[in-house]
């Protein structure tokens, strides 16, 4: 992107190819990411605001922004906000993700 003052996400008016009309049905895990944001951003919890979600997505950087799918960007950002607020630590997250992967591997054997 040639304009150094322009965020990577800020693409209005830039040249781009034709609109690809294909669509996909959302997978359950993607719907759960959506649900987590709805809950975490509601008035009672107020833990992840929409502007915080966006800031997190915009800070992913050009590579991740294009490589990650939509809800991958969301869960990456939501997780970053929750880590920043100390809801859980990166150690706890890493251990739990390893457990999740181990359980999934166990289920398939």
């Amino acid at each position: 992107m040639s304009d150094p003052g322009r965020g990577y996400h800020d693409m209005g008016g830039l040249p781009a190819g034709p609109v690809e009309r294909g669509e996909h049905d959302y997978a359950l895990w993607e719907k759960r990411v959506d649900a987590l944001l709805v809950l975490l951003s509601d008035k009672t919890r107020d833990l992840v605001r929409v502007d915080e979600l966006r800031r997190g997505i915009e800070q992913l950087g050009p590579g991740a922004y294009d490589e990650l799918s939509y809800y991958e960007r969301w869960i990456a950002s939501i997780t970053g906000v929750l880590l920043g607020k100390g809801v859980f630590t990166s150690d706890e997250l890493g251990r739990r993700m390893a457990e999740v992967e181990a359980r999934a591997a166990g289920d398939r054997t």
């Binding site: 609109v19 987590l36 939509y70 997780t79 999934a104």
Partner: protein, 208 residues
């Protein structure tokens, strides 16, 4: 789906997940479990939120459009305060403010979110992939007629085209013109002409 994030251009319906979870799927599960253990959310709340979003869809928006076509007083309220008018029909717009923009005799409206993917999701469900993709977001503000043409919508040169860029807190929906030849139709019949894409503004309602 593959085990990495390299499927952002996969536009086909995804098969059931029977391979290993991707890194970010594992992250979703881990985050959800940690939030449940800490009492931030309950599993039941997550399930209910998924169900509630599944229940939202274009049919809800079509009901609003059909009412506006049938009831001028409702239409006036809808254009004045979209969220409040939707609430009359039992539709909760959540934390977002709905602004309804009306097509006119030589006026066509279309909505976008150039910065991300803001969309009237509480009214018409989750956005289609193309709404969130680079091509649409980049181009519709610069060459809306060309983009509309890719959807098969040809807007005459002497019509005005207005493009509305949504924000996180404020969402737009297009109120199309009532098709001619629908005099005396019921609201349910009229709603059958209203598609998701005509409420985004990339197409017109179905012909009666």
């Amino acid at each position: 789906m593959s085990d990495t994030g390299q499927h952002s251009h996969d536009h086909t319906p995804r098969p059931d997940q029977d391979g290993p979870p991707s890194y970010y799927q594992a992250m979703e599960t881990a985050v959800r479990e940690l939030l449940i253990e800490r009492g931030v959310v309950t599993a039941e709340e997550v399930r209910a939120a998924v169900e509630a979003m599944d229940a939202r869809g274009p049919a809800q928006g079509a009901r609003v459009v059909a009412r506006a076509w049938s009831d001028p007083a409702f239409k006036a309220r809808l254009l004045k305060d979209g969220s409040a008018a939707c609430a009359e029909l039992g539709i909760d717009m959540g934390p977002t403010h709905l602004v309804v923009v009306e097509n006119g005799e030589k006026l066509h409206n279309v909505i976008v979110c150039t910065l991300c993917s803001c969309y009237p999701r509480f009214l018409i469900g989750l956005p289609p992939d193309w709404y969130k993709a680079r091509a649409y977001r980049s181009r519709v503000v610069r060459e809306p007629r060309a983009v509309l043409g890719e959807f098969g919508t040809e807007i005459p040169d002497d019509w005005e085209v207005r493009v509305h860029d949504s924000t996180a807190d404020m969402r737009y929906m297009v109120l199309p013109r009532r098709p001619e030849g629908t005099e005396g139709w019921s609201e349910a019949q009229l709603a059958g002409l209203v598609t998701r894409d005509c409420m985004i503004g990339v197409t017109l309602p179905k012909a009666p």
